[in-house]
């Protein structure tokens, strides 16, 4: 990874982290309603993928999708406004936390239906294939989603048609309250690739360089017309499944153990060791991102709610007016 990309990945991770910490704070203050699923601890996966995709490449995302959106170029202010249901949000405040779509940046949308976004990536990849472009599509989904039938149907077709698509399973060890090994028949979800004759790779999802290697290889394969790849990024969500999750299904020790594997701290240490950034520069980056997120908060808070009269807009396509 070149220096510029390292810095980009770092700033992206930091933006995701601080964006979500802010979202949680706003939620606790009852300024942000609904539910937010935080990806704190998992930022490396989204950030690296985002760094190697171009705007014209596609992603589909999940209920835990703030990071994916930001990594794919979403602005924190418009994203925060969306979380708060404001008119200035990415979907005019209609989507909320689980439905940020940003088509200009190739984000085809988050999806609250577990596994729901996986086949959409196939569709985008098929479109790229038919149009003969070098675009690729990436689908993010969780370990829980890998047990859904739609995972199987999508990977099967992707491999038969050699679609330029990359399946990224963020195995954060739990699907809600359910530990992955209590509902998944294999230790590594990546082995499922074998059933479709596609490569499958297990990656330390908290290691940006391990992610880089896997993602670059998968993009090349997709662009060379060789078809899809399944990447399983082993990672961990630090926060509850949802805000207010009592987390009775796991131990404090387990959470603390994973916090020592923080992807951001790891990269900060690497950057210092390799003299890419000094401690002062790291602190300055924190300050810079803090400011960005404070501005996002202000933007969202000062944005208007949507006009109730428009509640039915954008539900059905009514033809070009």
């Amino acid at each position: 990874m070149d220096k510029q990309t390292i810095l980009q990945v770092y700033e992206t991770m930091l933006t995701i982290r601080k964006f979500e910490e802010k979202a949680l704070h706003l939620f606790e203050e009852n300024k942000l309603r609904g539910s937010v699923h935080l990806s704190i601890g998992q930022e490396a996966v989204a950030a690296v993928v985002g760094a190697y995709l171009r705007d014209k490449d596609y992603i589909t995302s999940t209920h835990r999708g703030h990071g994916h959106a930001i990594a794919k170029g979403a602005r924190p202010d418009k994203a925060m406004a969306e979380l708060m249901g404001r008119e200035t949000g990415y979907c005019g405040g209609r989507g909320g936390s689980m439905h940020i779509a940003d088509v200009e940046k190739g984000n085809l949308g988050a999806n609250a239906i577990v596994g729901g976004g996986i086949p959409h990536a196939n569709g985008a990849a098929l479109s790229a294939q038919l149009r003969g472009t070098d675009q690729v599509a990436v689908s993010f989904f969780g370990d829980g989603a890998a047990n859904e039938g739609i995972f199987h149907e999508t990977l099967n077709i992707a491999s038969i048609w050699k679609l330029p698509v990359i399946f990224i399973c963020e195995n954060n060890q739990y699907g809600m309250t359910t530990a992955v090994d209590s509902v998944t028949s294999v230790k590594d979800i990546a082995v499922r690739a074998a059933g479709y004759d596609m490569p499958g790779e297990v990656v330390d999802g908290n290691d940006v360089f391990a992610m880089e290697k896997a993602v670059k290889k998968a993009i090349k394969r997709a662009q060379d017309g060789e078809g899809p790849t399944l990447i399983e990024a082993k990672t961990y969500r630090w926060k509850g499944h949802w805000t207010g999750d009592p987390e009775v299904y796991r131990t404090r020790d387990e959470v603390e153990e994973w916090k020592t594997k923080c992807p951001i701290k790891r990269l900060e240490k690497h950057m210092q060791d390799k003299k890419i950034l000094s401690l002062e520069q790291i602190e300055a980056t924190h300050t810079k991102i803090d400011k960005l997120i404070d501005e996002a908060e202000e933007f969202a808070l000062s944005s208007p709610d949507p006009d109730p009269a428009t509640v039915l807009d954008n539900v059905y396509y009514e033809g070009d007016k």
């Binding site: 859904e148 039938g149 199987h152 509902v183 028949s185 294999v186 059933g195 004759d197 596609m198």
Partner: protein
Amino acid sequence: MDIAAYDPLNETPYQILDAQGKVILDHWEQSLSDSELIEAFKNMLFVRQFDTMAISYQRQGRMYTYPPNLGQEALSVASGSVLQKTDWMVPSVREMGAWYMKGVSLKELFLYYRGHEIAQRFEQANRIMPITVPIASQIPHAAGVGYGIKFHGEKAVVLTFIGDGGTSEGDFHEALNFAAVWKVPLITVIQNNHYAISLPVHKQTASKTLAAKSLSYGMPGIRVDGNDYIAMHEVLSGSIDYARQGNGPVLIEALTYRRGAHTTSDDPKKYRTQEEEQEWEPKDPVNRLRSFLVHKNIWNPDEEAELIEGYRKEIDTQFLEAEQYPPHSLDDVFAYMFSELPPELEAQKQEYQDYLNATAQEPQK
């Protein structure tokens, strides 16, 4: 046979007999007795007669749509004969031989293909579920039955079938995942007959074998020549032993070929060549087992004509009995889904009854 030792990616199927009925393995010991093999052969012949006659009845307008079994008899008869009475079977649609071996009567089958849902109670058979038309929906049911067996601490197993096409359904994935997580005694037999209606299997999956699907669930998977009765029997027995001992589920890919049409409403000429069909002729399961028995001097093919004559009479008798059965009433349409009919279905039923009453009063044209 040690099922877990096989490589699911191995494209060469487990096979005992070649197309001429000769044993191809160097060190092979026959585990079935001669009389068991003769019995199996007769059952395959019988099933083939049933199949041929069912198509005729359908063509005569005396039966509804029927899915021909021609060419797939070895795997179905073997699957039915390895099960014990307390074992469960969860049918798909194209393994009549297995149902028959489990005790399903011909009369019930004919009734079913004449539209009588009640026939699927299969009163003569023990522990068999109804025939499943929605592709792959039987696999979650079978996994559930397996869970039940385990829950009750029984020593039974459950065996289910699916087509090559069915393996691409989400239900297949969800069910096999849970079967493996819970280590239920489930044997899933994929009938890879090379087509899902018109879609050839190479467009169905990119994987080299369908047995490879087992890798996704961490269960043993094996590709076997499904037209080789003896190989099929060995693989099934090994799988059932494995499952019965509590080791969990097994996936079997049985290679075969649907020599007939997909159903009586299909014309295979539209999507496959005659050359291909001819290629599969010599691999026919009935001919293969016959050759083996003849080589062993334990079967005289001259006796077959008379045997078949008797089978045809028996089949026709049962068909005529089914034909005598009173026509199904409107009740029959609504009877088997809910123990208590929900109001919207009650209303539909009434509406249809009113329609029937009204048309009954119209003068005949």
